[in-house]
């Protein structure tokens, strides 16, 4: 059964879209990531124009992150204070990212910058996560005890001034690195057209030493706010939000996210990190392969200015 998408202006199979939503929703619920870094390329592959894909995915991410945030809120796992401080940096970063996006597009090198950023970022973070979680699993398999965190052993950037206590996350750190992380996530998110959850979760775990589940819950809350802002921004500035596409994706996505969230909670934190690491690494490799392998056609056509 096909359905015509009014803004994307093409017919697609509704079941393909639903399945896509459920699959990506499952992953986003499980790892607390928005799933944009998976969904956007898949929609473009289906023929949806990139600008419409990026904008419409934000509606899907808003829905599934809201659903996920509610679940985690009820379990008292969201660190609202940490989320708000991150958001302060995040919104500034988003603005900087949007400006860079426009500049790079004028230079005609946006695709390359996006691809290289994906490769470097996903490759690094994926490898780090896989290595760390394997080490943790190996330690456990050998029967060694996990290293006890010593309160005085904070890295230098957490000992900067303007310290603040985040009770839920059980950390007492400077707000400077927190705002910086928020800024970086917002900047990269706007530039790469993603929510940034898959960057934020490891950043919270490894840099700020926030417990895994609190990281996931807080990242979901941040995704919710940034994606709701993104819907409005895209709708007003570009008119590229396809509500029909978004609705089908979010119905599939929220159902998938519920099962994903349960699967995630049933799983050990180290295994969860290993899986997310492998997933991030796989997407990074995929982008790298696309850039390195000789393309079928050495020419590509982009639309500069639509007829409307």
């Amino acid at each position: 059964m096909t359905i015509y998408l009014p803004i994307a202006e093409l017919p697609v199979n509704i079941f393909t879209l639903l399945a896509l939503g459920i699959a990506v929703g499952f992953i986003s619920g499980m790892f607390g990531v928005g799933g944009g870094f998976l969904m956007t390329p898949l929609l473009i592959f289906l023929g949806v124009p990139p600008a419409v894909a990026v904008a419409s995915v934000s509606t899907h991410m808003a829905a599934s992150s809201f659903s996920g945030t509610l679940t985690y809120l009820r379990r008292g796992l969201v660190d609202v204070r940490l989320g708000l401080v991150l958001l302060a940096g995040g919104l500034t970063g988003t603005l900087a990212g949007v400006v860079s996006f426009m500049l790079l597009r004028q230079l005609g090198q946006l695709d390359l910058v996006i691809a290289v950023t994906y490769i470097v970022l996903l490759g690094t973070i994926g490898s780090l996560m896989v290595a760390e979680s394997l080490r943790a699993l190996l330690r456990e398999w050998r029967g060694e005890k996990a290293q006890v965190k010593r309160p005085g052993a904070h890295p230098w950037f957490l000992r900067m001034p303007l310290k603040m206590r985040f009770r839920q996350s059980r950390i007492y750190v400077s707000v400077i690195p927190v705002v910086t992380i928020g800024f970086a996530i917002g900047f990269l998110g706007a530039l790469m057209g993603i929510g940034g959850g898959f960057l934020l979760v490891p950043a919270l775990i490894y840099l700020l030493r926030v417990p895994t589940l609190t990281s996931i819950a807080t990242a979901l809350m941040l995704t919710l706010v940034t994606m709701t802002a993104a819907i409005l921004m895209h709708a007003v500035l570009n008119q590229t939000v396809d509500a029909v596409l978004g609705l089908v994706l979010m119905v599939g996505g929220t159902i998938g996210a519920q099962f994903g969230a349960r699967a995630g909670q049933a799983m050990r934190a180290e295994k969860l990190r290993l899986l997310l690491g492998l997933l991030v690494l796989a997407v990074g490799l995929r982008v790298a392969v696309d850039q390195i392998v000789t393309p079928a056609d050495l020419y590509a056509v982009s639309i500069d200015e639509a007829a409307r």
Partner: protein, 255 residues
């Protein structure tokens, strides 16, 4: 089929009432393609009658039907390997190129007339003018230009440009029929159907019909709201997203 019969009838009525000197009479099965939520593409039928007076009894006329969609500007990029990565190194702008281009003919257009005539009349996919910006100049280039060929290749792969050398069929010595496929991905806007007839290697007659591809009903409402009331549309979409998220959360609540 009924639409086809009706349009043929309309054409005959038109013929009956037409004063003597019409070289070419055309009728399209519908002038407006409407897009609803189950739209996956459409097929139009064009009927044409060539006035027997202009055709020599021995000669067989040739017909080229060209359908051009609304104009858009494109950039064709050429990739090259730099530091192991494939990078866009060079780009050409194609200004106001048709977003949809269909060429239908009763035989390969190249056989109908000499190259210069065909180029002048823009008969055949390769003879359609595609304006490029080269430096500060605007010009069309030779058909062998790699950017132009790449542009045609990409658009053909998308199913938006095509040439069918057997797309026009003569159902009587001077009556022809052409089937125009409109794909589901066809851009919205004003189209133009241009019919040119050739006889003995020269242009014998031509005619133009307008065609419109438009969204209607729900599709139109959504598109118009998105364009004219972006704040309302954005807020409504955001609210819809939060509602769906909330409902899902309640529906699946276990604790």
């Amino acid at each position: 089929m009924r639409g086809m019969a009706a349009s043929l009838l309309a054409l005959l009525l038109l013929l009956a009432g037409t004063p003597a000197r019409a070289e070419l009479v055309l009728s399209l099965s519908k002038a407006r393609v409407t897009i609803t939520s189950n739209f996956t593409g459409d097929t139009l039928v064009l009927f044409g009658v060539i006035d027997p007076g202009v055709v020599a009894p021995s000669a067989s006329p040739d017909v080229v039907v060209t359908v051009r969609g609304p104009r858009e500007s494109f950039t064709t990029w050429r990739k090259e390997r730099r530091f192991g990565l494939w990078v866009n190194v060079d780009g050409r702008s194609f200004l106001a190129a048709p977003s949809y281009l269909a060429v239908l003919a009763n035989r390969p257009p190249a056989d109908m007339a000499d190259a210069e005539t065909l180029r002048w009349e823009q008969a055949g996919l390769d003879n359609n003018r595609l304006l490029q910006r080269i430096g500060s100049d605007y010009a069309d280039v030779v058909p062998q230009d790699p950017f132009r060929q790449a542009f045609l290749r990409v658009k053909q792969a998308q199913g938006l440009y095509f040439e069918r050398p057997a797309g026009v069929e003569f159902i009587a010595p001077n009556v022809f029929r052409a089937t125009i496929p409109i794909p589901g991905t066809a851009p919205i806007g004003a189209y133009e159907v241009v019919v040119k007839t050739f006889n003995g290697g020269a242009l014998a007659g031509q005619g133009t019909l307008p065609l419109e591809v438009a969204k209607v009903d729900f599709e139109q409402t959504v598109a118009i709201t998105a364009q004219d009331y972006p704040w309302l549309y954005g807020l409504a979409t955001a609210l819809m997203a939060l509602t769906v998220g909330f409902i899902a959360n309640i529906a699946f609540r276990r604790d």
